[in-house]
């Protein structure tokens, strides 16, 4: 029983790590699009990142920066 627990634990760790990487990758991509000035693409990427991790300081910072540049 206990072994099941630790293996599951490992899998969970791995999943959360992958999710973190993916969120960061979308945010990176968003910042690339933002620099190029294609706001809609950047917004799509940010939305993707937000769907994975809503409370992300970097994600909201990026969103704010883009909104400011757009206005």
């Amino acid at each position: 029983m206990k072994e099941t627990y630790s293996v599951n634990n490992l899998i969970l760790c791995f999943q959360s790590l992958l999710q973190k990487f993916e969120t960061e990758a979308w945010q990176d991509l968003a910042s690339v699009y933002g620099k190029l000035g294609s706001w809609s693409d950047a917004e799509t990427c940010l939305e993707k990142a937000r769907s994975m991790c809503y409370y992300s300081p970097r994600g909201w910072n990026e969103t704010g920066m883009e909104k400011r540049l757009q206005s």
């Binding site: 072994e3 099941t4 630790s6 634990n9 790590l17 990487f21 990176d28 991509l29 910042s31 190029l36």
Partner: protein
Amino acid sequence: MNLNITCVALQIFALESTYITLLSIVLPEAAEECKIILDVVENALPSGMPDGISGFAKLQDIFQKALELLPLLWKKAGNHHETIASYRRALSRPWNLDPQRLAVTQKSLALVLLYGSVEACPKDNIEEAIVLLMLLVKKMVVGDIQWDPELMDHLTYALSMTGQFEVLANYLEQTLPGVYTRGERWYLLSLCYSAAGIDKAAINLLKMALGPSESRQIPHIPLLLFGAKLCSKDPKHSRDGINFAHRLLDLGNSQSEHLLSQAHKFLGVCYGNAARSSKLDSERVFLQKKSLFSLNEAAKRGKADPELDVIFNLSVENAVQRNVQAALDGAVEYSSMVGGVSTKGWKHLAIVLSAEKRLKDAESILDFTMEEAGDIEKIELLRLKAVLQMAQEQPKKAMKTCSSLLGLIRAQEKSEQSEVPSLDVTI
């Protein structure tokens, strides 16, 4: 039945003299003779030694001696399979051996199974040995047989070889108080839990050693060092790590230089972690200074035999505190010492180079590291590469890197999903 036994007894008395003389002759022959005794008795008593036979004490005694002698003879003769077979034969039926002697036989079989088959160590043998040892430890805990610290050591070896650390922790918890001192028990248990990947439980156990109950005991040095090591891995526990390392350093200069250097290293890493999570600016500056001091101390003490970990951590800390030149020297030294197989080292070097605005160099280092990296490491490297390309104003390339990064993550998720069912089966 009775007549049968008398007949057997007569045969055995005749054989007794032969078997004693044969001891001095060639071992396999002696073993064969011994086997004859066993065969005779086993044929007469197929369901084991009956309990209530009186007047056959001598017979039983001789027979039991033969039972124990046979595997020893085979062992001396160097015949591994026969040894195991004869031990198993002795244990397969109830022969009225008293618990202590039975335990010795079981232990011998377990040891032969565990260590004997160097040439081919089949898994079944180790499993059988583990079951035997578990049985014996259970008996010891209940008090059927005398306490034998060796048994616990062998069980520890067997379970660690097969990677079942949690089971081992269970058995260690069952040992009676007084066998190990408190510190030792906590240390062993925390080793088990950390090997099983439950660092949190391990740290909790180790923290008990910092409590007031242990203040009058002799400090357990490996425990303190292990505590500092575990805490240095996780920024959440950096304060505890500082406590462990300080306790170790407070013990004075009586220990070896190597130990002190290790303690300074963990102290430095923990101070660094604490500095990154501290909320006050003044506190952060203070902790960073301490961290750099401790790491430098560790490097100075280990001058004769420089340790890779110390160099790496010192370089990372220097990089965090923007001492770029020192960090670069450290990173280059680390990468050259490690012999070009450390993704961690190359990644750090790339980061430090990018701090010096040598973005092209950093990127080519990443490209060259990528070839040898594992999948998870590759994800991190690709991310760094995208950032570098952005800094070089190459958005097209950065976009490409990002999409290949996302593709890699997808592939990982897929392979993981296909792996999960197979894991369930092995459990």
